[in-house]
Amino acid sequence: MLYREAGQFKTSYAADQAMLPILQDRIGILVILLVAFVGIPVFATDFFMGSIMIPFLVFALAAVGLNILTGYAGQLSLGTGAFMGVGAYSCYKITTLFPDTNIIIAILLSGVFSAIIGVIFGLPSLRIKGLYLAITTLAAQFFLEWCFIRIGWLYNYNDSGAIEVPQRKIFDIAVTGASATPMVRYLVIVSIVAVLSLVAANVLRGRIGRSWMMIRDMDIAAELMGIRPLYAKLSAFAFSSYYCGVAGALMVFMWLGSAEVEAFDINHSFLVLFMVIIGGMGSILGCFLGAAFIWVLPIVMRGLPSLMGLDILAATTEHITNIVIGVLIIFFLIVEPHGLARLWQIGKEKLRSWPFPYASS
């Protein structure tokens, strides 16, 4: 009843082209932002912020990155983990080479490096497509992983071979390092993710975003409409890798605190891919839904047996979680390739036309 667009007439193209043309959606976003920036910091526990919200936001950002490349530009990538690694190692180098750099700037800057690496590994996409390209991203994954191990300079020749996050402060408040509270880290990360998501939504709605979708849907036609595949594909690689890189830097600096190369391995790439598939390819909202789903599901699964009074091995629930995610991936691919985001859309449509289910929009 409350979700109605009746009476909301658009009198200009500007209004019609707004990101959220329906008033109720704008109110919804406002509520979400209020919850994210005020509600959660005030009411949520450290565990909720530190172990659920922070990883969720990191993965959501990485999923946005992968979704730009795979969902919008149609280039399947299995190298997300490595691109996140480039971001993390760059950020580590920036913060240790120039200790006075503001940490937020260092994080945002680190994405630039992964964007550059992304472009380099995106070059083959000009000659090869589809599954072949997926394999070249696999080459990126393994080659970069090897670099993270073999190039000692990247981790300052630490004996442990791991990158350790140094402590950095902004206005005398610890933002990184062990003494940074989950609330501070959460607020930093949620701000970055909110801004970058807005940027992504803007770019995707405009000329550049459209050129990616053109390449995705019909690359030949796109070229015949004047899109230069070189620019379109490489800009998608760069933009996507930037997001993955920032997500990787945030992952290490705001969440884990230290990382070995395994934090960026192929399984990590798959994890982000699962989020995109289940969340919905070609949807920013889907990235958030998918990330929440994939990150939270195992936590819920772990809680379930004891809730039901069953004594099941921790490992067993792990296996079952794997199976459930696998089944869901296939289920979504068969039933709704646009994932949770599409289900959400359908739900909204139903709500719009309720109680007249056959009044089509």
Binding site: A14, V199, D217, I220, E223
Partner: protein, 283 residues
């Protein structure tokens, strides 16, 4: 009878020449596109052999021929998707050998496809907006903040696109994803997308294939209006002879990758070689 054979002879004699002067004095005087002795082959199989013809500015030019005659390959050569092994193509007097499709688009050549090649994941509006890609220039940073120039540009082009939507009478499907539209409408959206590019030369690859009579009439009307009102030069491939006869100023006929006739619809229709080609006379 004599009448027919004479014109047929005229066509024949034309065919043997490599220059492509019009068989009759045309209303059109400026040559827009010129194809000279173009040959294209794929791994030894000849798709197009030594073809020459021209397209005058403002005319409707039809390319016809039986299946596999090389018509679509010809269009692909014109807009740079295939690169011919031999021959030269001149557009607006500028000759070129190899050209990237996006450069052809930039120089003012647009096209539609035999099997609808719309961007299936996008709405009608976005599909037609995509035709404006070449005309939009605001840089990445403006796109990022999406206020000011980038936004104004988007709105300005939206106005043009809405005009096209009105012209093609597809306002009701503006926001629907094109993948689920009926075939006839998809063809219309594709035409709209090509129109949005405001091309000088529009290549239409079987714009009416698979349409019923009513839809064909609509489409013909759009093509005529496009040609007369907007002055767009059109080259089209079509199988429906009735449509070709009504629309085209001149027709070029291909068979087995070779040009077998070129002239007014009437002249071509009566050419013995054309008739043979369509009936499949053994040669």
């Amino acid at each position: 009878m004599t009448d027919i054979s004479q014109t047929a002879d005229a066509v024949e004699s034309l065919d043997t020449q490599s220059d492509v002067d019009a068989p009759e004095t045309l209303r059109y005087t400026e040559e827009l596109l010129r194809v000279d002795n173009v040959s294209l082959s794929f791994g030894g199989v000849n798709a197009i052999t030594d073809i020459s013809f021209n397209i005058m500015k403002g005319e409707v030019r039809a390319i016809i021929g039986p299946n596999g005659a090389g018509k679509t390959s010809m269009l692909n050569v014109i807009n740079g998707f295939y690169h011919p092994q031999k021959g030269v193509i001149s557009f607006r007097g500028k000759p070129r050998r190899r050209m990237k499709p996006y450069k052809a688009a930039a120089s003012g050549i647009a096209r539609t496809f035999q099997n609808v090649a719309l961007f299936k994941g996008m709405s009608t509006l976005d599909n037609i907006m995509s035709g404006r890609s070449l005309k939009m220039h605001r840089g990445f940073l403006w796109q990022v903040i999406n206020i000011g120039p980038a936004r104004n540009e988007e709105i300005e082009h939206r106005k043009r696109v809405e005009e096209i939507i009105d012209f093609l009478e597809i306002a009701h499907i503006r926001k629907q994803p094109v993948g689920k539209l009926p075939y006839g409408l998809q063809k219309r959206v594709e035409l709209g997308r090509a129109m949005a590019m405001e091309p000088e030369l529009l290549l239409l690859d079987e714009p009416m294939a698979g349409m019923n009579l009513e839809e064909k009439e609509d489409m013909s009307r759009f093509i005529i209006d496009l040609n007369t009102e907007f002055g767009t030069t059109i080259a089209l491939i079509e199988h429906d002879m009735g449509v070709v006869m009504d629309l085209a100023d001149r027709v070029v006929v291909l068979d087995y990758g070779k040009k077998i006739a070129d002239g007014t619809p009437k002249a071509v229709q009566s050419s013995q070689e054309v008739i043979d080609a369509y009936l499949g006379v053994a040669r």
